[in-house]
Amino acid sequence: MLLTRLLDTNPETRISIEQIRNDPWFRKGYKEVKSYLDDEFQLKTPASSSSDDAGKLLNAFHIISLSSGVNLSGLLKCLGGKDTVDVERFVSAESAERIMQRIEEVAKAEGMRVTGKNGAAVRVEGQNGKFVLVMEINRLTEKVVIVEVKRKEIGAGPDREIWKLKFKPQLSEFIL
């Protein structure tokens, strides 16, 4: 029964979070609390050409809205989110396809999965979901793109260095 499995002193055989979620006793009257981070890491559906924004270039106001001073994203942290979302941006004269291709190569080499891809955005997951990375690329001008990388690293420790040590060095040649 659930309680015995919870109190199992052997971490190998102890019930996992996933299994707890699926247990009928737990599910009785259970209301799923959506993590506020889930939205952050969803890939947006590519803008359809008719109804959505005309033209594919980001304009100056889009750029400005990236500011955390403007989007009050810091309030999220005030509200006690323990998982951290790190956002990094860079500009590049390289094509979106090439940059995305490089990310996928690194992901593969690290044994991670590409769990989503559309237009100029890609989602990578590794370490059993403890590491999630979403990269979105938008064009600023004919020659320059802006790349935004959001990553979530659940739990501290060496996981946190994956972006810095494995991914970023492989992209540095693209960074302006």
């Binding site: 506020y36 005309a54 509200l79 860079f90 500009v91």
Partner: protein, 214 residues
């Protein structure tokens, strides 16, 4: 978060408004306004414990750094400070955050964004203001773009938005521009404000909401 002072009796400060009043005037429910009061207390007691949010406390909340100067945060602070007395009171806090609620009217979001970007309060967004903001963002994100590229971007944006061609964007042009580019208002909506009590259960549990009236 190490700076929350818990008090046994709630002390209301200047600018406090009843949750029922604020809930009626914004898209928030009464319990959401109460949750916002907990957030407000947390932010407003960090540096000067007077129940008011000062500029440094606001910067601390947004950037985890009270000294970080940021053009946009300054503008937001000024807009939240409706009475223009240099501090954000609870009522102002809730009413302003209400504009960021997913259910707030788009017209309100459009108007707020326009005032945000009208740096010098001239009633228009001038080209220099736009360029200044782009440069501020690049600086904030450690991005380096040559002045040529920045000029190209600002020019293109301006020609798209300034349909009357008078060198500045007025509120009407802004509304048209945003209607054609709805994603420009994305930063004016904070999805987690809806059902804030569900999205942050641990925050609510650690607050004193249960102790107040039921």
């Amino acid at each position: 978060m190490g700076c929350f002072h818990s008090k046994t009796t709630p002390q209301y400060t200047p600018g406090y408004e009843e949750p029922t009043v604020l809930a009626a005037a914004t898209p928030f429910t009464v319990s959401e306004v109460e949750a916002l009061y907990e957030l407000f207390k947390r932010i407003s007691s960090c540096i000067i414990n007077d129940g008011l949010i000062h500029k440094e406390e606001f910067q601390l909340a947004i950037f985890r750094n009270q000294k970080k100067k940021n053009l946009f945060a300054d503008r937001i602070f000024d807009l939240f400070d409706i009475k223009r007395n240099g501090v954000i009171e609870f009522g102002e806090f809730v009413r302003s955050l209400g504009i960021f609620h997913p259910n707030a009217p788009v017209a309100d979001k459009m108007a707020f964004a326009f005032r945000l970007y009208d740096l010098r309060h001239t009633g228009y967004i001038e080209r220099e203001e736009l360029k200044e903001m782009v440069l501020a963002l690049l600086h904030e994100s450690d991005l380096v773009l040559s002045d040529d590229v920045v000029e190209i971007i600002v020019d293109k944006t301006f020609s798209d938005a300034d349909t009357k061609g008078d060198g500045r964007i007025d509120p009407e042009e802004w509304r048209e521009f945003v209607s054609k580019n709805p994603s420009l208002l994305k930063n004016m909506t904070l999805p987690y404000l809806m059902d804030i009590t569900l999205a942050f259960p641990s925050f609510i549990v650690s607050s004193e909401v249960e102790d107040s009236e039921i």
